[in-house]
């Protein structure tokens, strides 16, 4: 395909869509599909067919629309109406009343002027909810693959790297390493063969950002990877995606097939010398395989165990070759940066943390779902404006970012801007985007215990501190939470946490104690009040707390 042909595809598709009187999109991602979304799709199609409206109304299955807690969601694109909690009967009503009679179905309407929508800035998720996840033409019509065309036909590889550097984009997997710097290192690394790897082994409990991007807009990730391949001089890419994401895998497979047929992946892309292939590798369910060196070994067909760094994958990665490894969301940011320029991106967010961040809101919050906010937004705004606050009758206690590697942010720090540096000052991390809200009914010792249990299960067993230390930390937490702990146990707990953090081999072990250290820092009283607990003592955060207070 040439650049002219790409524009022709875009125009033809836009014209085709313009011929329809209405365009109805429904969320076809796993969230809505799991609560009746598939039946809604069928009902919508049936209702259209029954009224002979198939040629007037287009029905498109799109990516996540964000308000996952209120799904299944259906949108009428023309006037921006969004319907929540749609079932088969409501679907029928939408067609009959909204499409045929022109009046909205009041009881299922979502108020799209709500801060949930107004406070968001969508770059990564710009196509989620509007374009058909399974049609490459729809992606192209929305400006897709234009960035790849621009990179390959107008820019030098070094120019692409420079644009990414200028954007200030930092790794969205959690650690926040400057993406442009990483690309530059891989580009300059000596070697005939280089690789691009997309880390789609999202595994934090409560996190579903990457899954939503892959399900909703797979081509965006492919395009980002191809641009990466062009920039660093790689002709082969791998997406390492976990087997627990069957829909994402299906959509990726389809997207790769479509892109290959269109000549957007494969040989001589845009009639240039640039060749790039992408293959999928499926993980077998080990959390540690999200750690880059373990992930690389897993792609090589070996047991997924991390190895000490340096050497970093940018020098010695897949099969010993220089390897560019980035997270799904990082790659999803690439195409808009190349299309609109690094300076445009750098103007969003804060000077050191540019752009936006996708968060998966979960836990004790009214609006659970997927959101994208500019970096630097105060946590308060995310929790209370976008999230709608904690459920009726409870108060906000803490928010956990970074999953089992992160920490909790207490109510005192609600005005903290959400960027890499600020989150680090309170002992948490940006993480990949899981944001779990805890309210006054949550017990923080239990929270720490839950995450530690996760780490015990997911430790690969290679290094001693993580393999054995997590078991002992978990044992102590259990002892304390059952009221059998002593002050000595608390001191030992802190000692073990510090030791596991300092001595473990990879990021999993080094960050495993974070939830404990962070809850100890802000909610120490919840630990101490459990020590030597007298009979009948009720720990805070349990249902009986109020009755005792009275």
């Amino acid at each position: 395909m040439t650049v002219e042909e790409l524009r022709e595809v875009a125009e033809t598709e836009r014209a085709r869509q313009g011929n329809f009187r209405h365009r109805i999109t429904y969320c076809s991602a796993a969230g809505c599909a799991s609560c009746g979304g598939i039946a809604v799709h069928e009902a919508l199609a049936k209702a259209l067919k029954a009224r002979n409206l198939e040629n007037e109304v287009e029905l498109a299955g799109t990516g996540c629309m964000g308000l996952c807690g209120e799904g299944p969601l259906v949108r009428i694109v023309g006037d921006g109406t969004l319907y929540q909690r749609v079932d088969v009967a409501v679907a029928e009503k939408i067609i009959e009343e909204h499409i045929v009679q022109g009046k909205k179905v009041a009881e299922n309407l979502v108020d799209t002027t709500d801060p949930f929508f107004a406070s968001q800035v969508k770059i990564v998720l710009e196509n989620c909810g509007t374009t058909d996840s399974e049609k490459i033409d729809d992606y192209i019509a929305a400006g897709g693959y234009e960035a790849l065309a621009k990179a390959v036909t107008e820019l030098q590889p070094a120019g692409v790297v420079e644009e990414i550097r200028k954007s200030g984009l930092r790794g969205r997997g959690g650690a926040g390493y400057p993406t442009g710097l990483k690309w530059g290192i891989v580009r300059k690394a000596p070697g005939e063969q280089k690789y691009v790897v997309c880390n789609a082994d999202e595994g934090d409990p409560g996190a579903f950002m990457d899954r939503s991007v892959l399900e909703g807009d797979p081509h965006r990730v492919l395009e980002g990877m191809a641009i990466g391949g062009y920039a660093v001089g790689a002709s082969q890419g791998f997406i390492y995606v976990r087997a627990e994401y069957p829909l994402a895998i299906e959509r990726l497979r389809l997207a790769i097939k479509h892109a290959e047929r269109a000549g957007l992946l494969g040989n001589r892309i845009f009639d240039s010398q640039f060749n790039f292939r992408i293959d999928i590798r499926i993980g077998a369910g080990a959390f540690v395989c999200g750690e880059e060196t373990a992930l690389i070994r897993s792609i090589e067909g070996k047991r997924g165990r991390p190895r000490p760094r340096p050497p970093y994958p940018s020098e010695k990665g897949l099969w010993g070759a220089p390897t560019l490894i980035n997270n799904v969301e990082t790659f999803a940011n690439i195409a808009p940066i190349i299309r609109k320029g690094g300076a445009w991106f750098a103007a969003i967010g804060t000077p050191k943390s540019t752009g936006t961040k996708v968060f998966a809101l979960a836990g004790k919050i009214r609006n659970t779902g997927l959101i994208e906010v500019p970096m630097g937004i105060p946590l308060r705004k995310i929790i209370f404006d976008i999230g709608g606050g904690t459920p009726e009758g409870t108060t906000f206690k803490a928010a956990q970012t970074g999953g089992p590697s992160g920490g909790c942010i207490p109510a005192e720090s609600l005005d903290l801007p959400v960027d890499y540096e600020s989150l680090a000052t309170v002992g948490s991390i940006m993480g990949s985007g899981g944001l779990i809200v805890m309210d006054s009914t949550s017990n923080m010792v239990d929270v720490a215990k839950y995450f530690m249990e996760f780490c015990v299960d997911e430790s690969c067993g290679k290094c001693v501190p993580c393999r054995v230390g997590t078991v002992h930390i978990h044992g102590l937490l259990e002892k304390i939470s059952e009221g059998r702990g002593t002050t000595d146990d608390l001191a030992l707990l802190e000692e073990l946490c510090q030791m596991v953090k300092d001595t473990s081999l990879c990021g999993l072990g080094q960050s495993a104690p974070n939830p404990v250290l962070s809850t100890l820092r802000f909610f120490r009283n919840e630990y101490t009040e459990l020590l030597h607990a007298p009979e009948g003592y009720v720990p805070s955060g349990t249902a009986n707390e109020k009755s005792i207070a009275q």
């Binding site: 080990a286 540690v288 047991r303 190895r307 000490p308 340096p310 015990v456 299960d457 997911e458 430790s459 690969c460 067993g461 290679k462 290094c463 001693v464 501190p465 393999r467 054995v468 230390g469 997590t470 078991v471 002992h472 044992g475 030992l492 000692e495 073990l496 030791m499 300092d502 001595t503 473990s504 081999l505």
Partner: protein, 244 residues
């Protein structure tokens, strides 16, 4: 290859840029405790005993897999490192079922020696008393997983030196175990050549020869250096041939 100068424990030392900090320290008579490391095998950085402090970074680095840099300032024996090393041995002691008094390698055990070296007087974490299997199905050898510390020396010597790859690890985390072939009895393994290298390199009494009583078995690991060096230099090639 370049020669670099660096400082280890306040002493100026020199080393090649492709050597590990551990090797350089050893050449200068500076002892860094190790368990998973063995001369002649690849390094994995798993036991974490050889962690050292490097000036300018709060992170600790395993000396076995860390390469030197010009002007690097390394400390191998600080208060913090001594404490962490003792805790690592404590963890290992609590993880398995280590009963020195009835062990075949009592007084010749690297784990036991390391406990002395790190001045481990008591274990403050609870013993986990795991239920582990012993496999005596092999004609000459026994694997007692109760005494295994998962250093993976056996896995590496079998893969890298013997070339059989009989041993590997199954499970993950605290459930990790050394298994032969596809987790079948060692005696029925088709890949095992019965060479016994794994038994000799095992630092504890996990891999032992049959017929030895308490305290009777001493391991030898020196053979490995000779084999590996000879192989690299092709010293034992063409001994009987007429070629030069």
């Amino acid at each position: 290859m370049a020669i670099l100068t660096l400082t280890i424990n306040g002493e100026h030392v020199s080393g090649k840029d492709d050597e590990s900090l551990l090797a350089i320290a050893e050449q200068h008579g500076i002892r860094i405790p190790t368990l998973c490391h063995l001369d002649g095998l690849s390094d994995v950085g798993a036991c974490r005993l050889c962690l050292v402090e490097i000036e300018g970074t709060p992170r600790l680095f395993p000396a076995c897999t860390t390469k030197p840099r010009e002007g690097m300032v390394v400390s191998t024996d600080t208060e913090r490192l001594r404490k962490y090393r003792r805790m690592i041995i404590e963890f290992l002691a609590s993880e398995g079922n280590h009963q020195c008094a009835v062990c075949v390698v009592n007084n010749h055990c690297e784990l036991q020696n390391m406990a002395y070296e790190t001045a481990l007087t008591h274990v403050s974490v609870p013993y986990l008393y795991p239920k582990k299997e012993l496999d005596a199905s092999h004609e000459n050898f026994i694997i007692d997983r109760n005494r295994c510390i998962l250093c993976t020396r056996c896995v590496r010597v079998c893969h890298e030196v013997e070339g059989a790859h009989t041993w590997d690890i199954a499970g993950r985390g605290i459930d990790c175990e050394i298994i032969s072939d596809l987790n079948q009895p060692w005696g029925t393994s088709e890949s095992c050549t019965s060479c016994g290298k794994c038994v000799l390199v095992c630092p504890t009494g996990a891999l032992i020869e049959k017929g030895e009583a308490v305290s009777e078995m001493e391991k030898k690991t020196d053979f490995l250096r000779y084999i590996v060096t000879a192989r690299q230099k092709r010293e034992w090639v063409n001994l009987d041939s007429d070629e030069e």
